[in-house]
Amino acid sequence: MSAQTIDSQGNALTYATIERDAGLRAALDMTRPDIIDAVSQSGLKGRGGAGFPTGMKWNFCAAEKGDLKYIICNADEGEPGTFKDRVILSRFADLVLEGMTIGGRAIGATLGIVYLRAEYTYLRPHLNEVIKERRKRGVLGTSIMGVEGFDFDIIVAMGAGAYVCGEETALIESLEGFRGEPRNRPPFPAVAGLLNNPTVVNNVETLASVAAIFAKGVDWFKAFGTDKSTGYKLFSVSGDCEKPGVYEFPWGITVAALLEEVGGEGAKAVQIGGASGVCVPAREFARRLAFEDIPTGGSVMVIGPQRDMLDVAENFLEFFVEESCGQCTPCRLGNPQMLKAVKLLKEGACPPKFLADVKALGQTMMVASKCGLGQTSPSAFLSILEHFGDEIHDRAPSA
């Protein structure tokens, strides 16, 4: 699917109604602690997948001493089936940069960096154009909007195509010019991030939401969603449905309701959260997309009745075997074992002991891997094994 079609499909997006610069203006009338407080009050949680409360993250970073701090916009969007950040960047870049500027004000950063996925290189001139224009307008640069001492600028840095570089500490390593490999945490980036300085890393959508929150108010934002998952969220919908595209829904929508909206009612399962997410079978379609039920960075892959679930698992595991940074043992060597099990299952030739060993290994990977990649890579396969046992085990052994 080309950029044009996918960017223009879906439903109407609230971001289109947000007046640019309004949020920044409102934020600059507040003290820095009050800005962070407002973000905390809004209940905003990170839209990049992990769902960490944004206000809390900013607070940690603001509490650190030091003149050099950074705010990084994570635009690496590498999760299979995710393309909502691309839509935001191409249509609402101003809001993202504005969110960064508000964040920079809040934590005391002087530089913002957009870490842009290599495949999105075509967006780079556009982003640079918007940045230039913002500088001209006085909403980037020195004494922003006339506020004495508030100096903040933004640059765009390019990724090089590794999925793992979306993980915030690998992203920082990559920015420093090293192999994109996740770091040990703690220390967290908010304490020791880019070049050892306190650094906030936020997802594109998180930052756009920040701009919206300040433009329209905390209460406006909280009116969307559930108690624990406030606001609205963009979903990248793909797979076996009639109307794939980027959709906005308030948090708390059921899987069934979403499927109805996108024309995917006949699905036998939905993979939520991309390759690293979970596979939800049809009998659980009443569950909600929300941090308290099915948390997600926004990828929804509809799996039609004709699909072989082992193909689905194989596809994801091939992705992880390709993309693991290869640093830690459970992920480096565990994913290939998972993949081997899937292939054996497909042939109807997986010895029961091996399957049991691999399932146990999956549990180890989820708790002993160094970063989110290895901690989540077995989950799709394990949920498919759990929910589609009949389909898998009834297979005749190949001759």
Binding site: E64, K65, G66, L68, T110, L111, D151, D153, A162, I172, E173, E176, G177, F178, R179, R183, N184, P186, P187, V191, A192, G193, L195, N196, F320, V321, E322, E323, S324, C325, G326, Q327, C328, T329, P330, R332, L333, G334, N335, P336, Q337, F354, D357, A360, L361, Q363, T364, V367, A368, S369, K370, Q375
Partner: protein, 642 residues
Amino acid sequence: MSHPTTPIHRAPLSQQHRRVIPTTSPDAIGAQVTVTINGVEAKVPFGATILEAARSVGVQIPTLCDHPDLNVAGVCRMCVVEVEGQRLLQPACTFPVVNQMKVNTHTRKVRQARRHVLQLLLSEHFGECTSCVRNGNCELQSLAEEYGINDFAFGHPEEPLVAEDHSSYSVMRDMNKCIRCRRCVRTCIDIQEVGVLEAIGRSDRVSIETYEDRPLGSVVCINCGQCVNRCPVGALYAKDETDAVWAAIDDPEKHVVIQTAPAPRSAMGELFGLEPGTPVTFEMNTALRRAGFDHVFDTNFSADLTIMEEGTELILRLYKALVLGHKDVALPQFTSCSPGWVKFLEHFYPEYLPNASSAKSPQQMFGALIKTYYAEKLGLDPGNIVSVALMPCSAKKFECNRPEMHDSGYQDVDYGLTTRELGKMFKEAGLHVPSLPKSDFDDPFGTATGSGVIFGATGGVMESALRTVIELVTGEKVESIYDHGDIVPVRGFDGVRYAEITVPKVGPVPEILAHLVPDWEWLNGATLKVAVAHGTANAKKVMDDIKAGGKFSECHFIEFMACPGGCLGGGGQPIPTNAAIRAARAKAIYAEDHAYSVRKSYENPAVARTYAEFLTDGPGGHKAHKLLHTEYTARGRHIPQE
């Protein structure tokens, strides 16, 4: 707005400390925290890791990628533990404790995870313990035993996946055994700043490679073997030449002699279960004879000779620069007895090769004399002499093989054995070194001085040179200036040390140097500026400072050793290594120095005899130059592909 530029250093800045500080709050620095490990309370300094806390109460946690000399990595996941209240297991080696933390180190989940880690590692580990250099001293092997690995749940390779790399004279690589712990990578970058090895590729395709995967023998590797000393398994090992040495011993035609360097003698005991720092010098002499070596010599003899030649060279350089006003004299003079350092200089600072002393290392001086002076004296055919050197060092193997090291007309030193190799030979010959009677070194090079012994520790060459220079110049006993003649400012383990030594008075020029300088007046009251650096990362600091015209460019003489701790931490020494072990070895070396009655090189009677009988035109003279000095090759960093 100025932002720092990207550091060249590989380790993430946030992880360059051994200690992981989870907050920068100054109130917390120096504070104590109380944690519970398996129900036992531990009080540790703020910032300590779970691993450190556990050790403090006697709880062992298995590790593989962790090494006390290196930055934390947190990659093997062998050390994972359960922290109450957390879903994820946490790596004990990197995770800092906080107050009231409750840790369980051996729960079912944890044991399961560790077993999985081991089984996964074994799934790509091709190797047979019975035919492996690290059999009995392998961290993977012992953990597999501890964790009762009794099957290969995830498979086990039946044949090698990659060819071994035997291209280097010093360091062999068998990547079939590599567990990707990256201790070698961190060693080569963090400790040595050479950066030969790097993890290449992703996922299960990660491998530890050189630049463009070229053979180790044709990249900038300095052969220091520090990576070997820190590899937990048999993936890296020093070249083994014991078979060739046995063959020479077994050949009745050959006259096999061995010189032994001081550092191995302070460490050999470790291979026989003795505490580090238990010297076995004289027991080893007996073992060597019983193993079949015809004569056993002490490298200290040629260390003393090195001091004479190198010291003379320094005096001459200073004289030319300060008195004769020559502009082209290269100062500071650098020591050149560490072949790892020499290769480092050749690759990374070739423009400073004129600063390196042209004096050969003690090993090579001895080698050149054995096949000339010694052969003549004993009426032996030098072609039948097999000259072996026991060294703490893997780079010495490379050094023996340098094409310029043939000044005797033969390869001056045939084999450089490491401490580990000789230990193996002793075991094979049934020689339990600690229980053997003591015996002395053989003549004609028998008597050594303490100055030679301390060559084995960082600062030792400097101290020896200073002892000799001070006495030659002042005509006074060095003991009258320094207690016991110990020049303490140049001792210790700080990576870089700087000292200023004032020449309090001058005496008459001694006979042995009379042909070189007319008097010492020009040194009266002068201040000698000297420095010591060990580990090439530290050497690099000094070199960069010199290049920038900093304080070290004002020095007169600098001792450089490639290995941390000097030779006692050499790449051929017993494994494991850590700061405590190196300190214990250093203690043994300084104790041996104190035991010598003659502690200044120029007083060594064998040295005096050699000049009198053989190198008759004295230190720095023509004959000495032919046999005891050498030249270097500007290699640079860009090595053309073969």
